[in-house]
């Protein structure tokens, strides 16, 4: 095997890309953690932190995009380098979306009444869902940073549980809205929170799938949850 040659400019660009991606993942995860913390405690003060994080995430996403475009245009990368760059480009969108949903949850938190007496009950399974979602985001981000395809190979199976909890929350809240126990506007906001968490978990799955491709070059087939339940995994 010949000695490894250095490609200084490419290596340095890839290093910068990896560092920025790790930071972006941390910021997105922090945004969602803070948004959930603010929601649970009905603390409107957290919202500003989340809004700032969302802005930082967007700015970093733009910087990453520009690094990727430079690397693609100047070095015509192939193989692992190409997979790393294209995966980063795709994943930044997922991480940015996660930041946006965190911002949306923070905005909803501001609309809940500070002394909402039934808040804990209204949240229902949402805190549990939030825990699972944060865990998924953390696992996907870690897999990217550590180039670990195996830890996310079946990440979509865990997402099925989040989807299930979302369904439960939806029916529970709708049920209470129908009986007049829960104001429609307030209920709709809780449904939105649940929906945002479900979407965040989907983005974590996207990241996981992309990491598998980045590390192995394999594109995992997307299988519907119903088919997975029947054991049709390819």
């Amino acid at each position: 095997m010949p000695e490894a040659a250095e490609r200084k400019a490419l290596e340095s660009g890839l290093r910068r890309l990896n560092e920025n991606m790790a930071t972006l993942a941390e910021l997105s995860e922090l945004a969602i953690r803070k948004a959930i913390d603010g929601l649970r405690r009905l603390d409107p003060g957290v919202a500003d932190d989340v809004f700032t994080l969302d802005e930082e995430i967007y700015a970093l996403q733009l910087e990453i995009e520009s690094t990727c475009v430079d690397l693609l245009a100047l070095h015509a990368p192939v193989a692992r380098d190409l997979r790393t760059i294209t995966t980063s480009l795709k994943i930044t969108t997922d991480l940015d979306r996660i930041g946006r949903y965190a911002k949306d949850i923070a905005e909803l938190t501001l609309q809940f009444h500070a002394k909402e007496s039934d808040h804990a009950r209204n949240l229902g399974s949402i805190p549990q869902m939030a825990e699972m979602t944060i865990r998924l985001v953390d696992r996907a981000a870690r897999a990217f940073v550590e180039r670990d395809a195996e830890s996310v190979r079946h990440i979509e199976e865990e997402d099925d549980s989040v989807d299930l909890l979302h369904e439960q929350a939806f029916h529970e809240i709708i049920g209470r809205m129908k009986t007049g126990e829960l104001d429609a506007e307030v209920g709709a906001r809780y449904i939105l929170v649940s929906r945002y968490l479900e979407r965040i978990a989907d983005h974590a799955v996207n990241i996981g799938e992309r990491v598998v491709y980045m590390v192995t070059g394999e594109r995992a087939p997307r299988i519907r949850a119903a088919a997975r339940a029947k054991g049709d995994r390819a």
Partner: protein, 250 residues
Amino acid sequence: MAVKIHVEGLSAWYGAKKAIQDIGMDFAEHEVTAIIGPSGCGKSTLIRCLNRMHETIPKARAEGKVLLDGEDIYELPAVTVRRRIGMVFQKANPFPTMSIYDNVAAGLRLNGERNRSKLDAGVLKSLKAAALWDEVKDSLDKGGAGLSGGQQQRLCIARALAVEPEVLLMDEPCSALDPIATAKIEDLIFDLKKGYTVVIVTHNMQQAARVADKTAFLYLGKLVEFKNTRDLFERPDQELTEKYITGRFG
């Protein structure tokens, strides 16, 4: 896709020096196959074995099988093999004292064609196929050496096509050309594969990625990896291939 050339256990030497070792691969009909690898890895030797050009070098020899449509090329007359498998070289080499017309007609005349209208038709067809006709149709009697580098290379391609080969071997055909002339040759290769089987040796990885259906990576005379170009450049199986194509090669 049908196999046009089947290579099996092919080794070649220059005197005592072994240049390629036990190569086995199939070249599919109407496909472009690129051969990449560092200088001295045996790329040119390999394609020169495909049309028996290797043996024209003193003390050079080859062993193994090269089947063209199932026929062993070493059992066919060398001239027949070279007519069916044409070659274009790194440096455009038009016959310097001949006109553009005569350069293209040379192969036809060598094959005994004397009929002027048949020669005219052959020259027209070949220059068109080489995407050069529009640029030289009013100056066919001028010297081929007066053309630009890119035009000279297309003239050489026209000359190779004139004898209606089935396979076209190209040994770094763009390495001496500017990007515009290179793009024209690459466009031409894209069109040529409809009627021919093309094998191209190239140092330019992006060129292999652009023009070839399949790519073979050679290192120290051995075939390291051979697969669909897209797969080879996106996810090579061999660490050695990954190192070479990503430029991390000492």
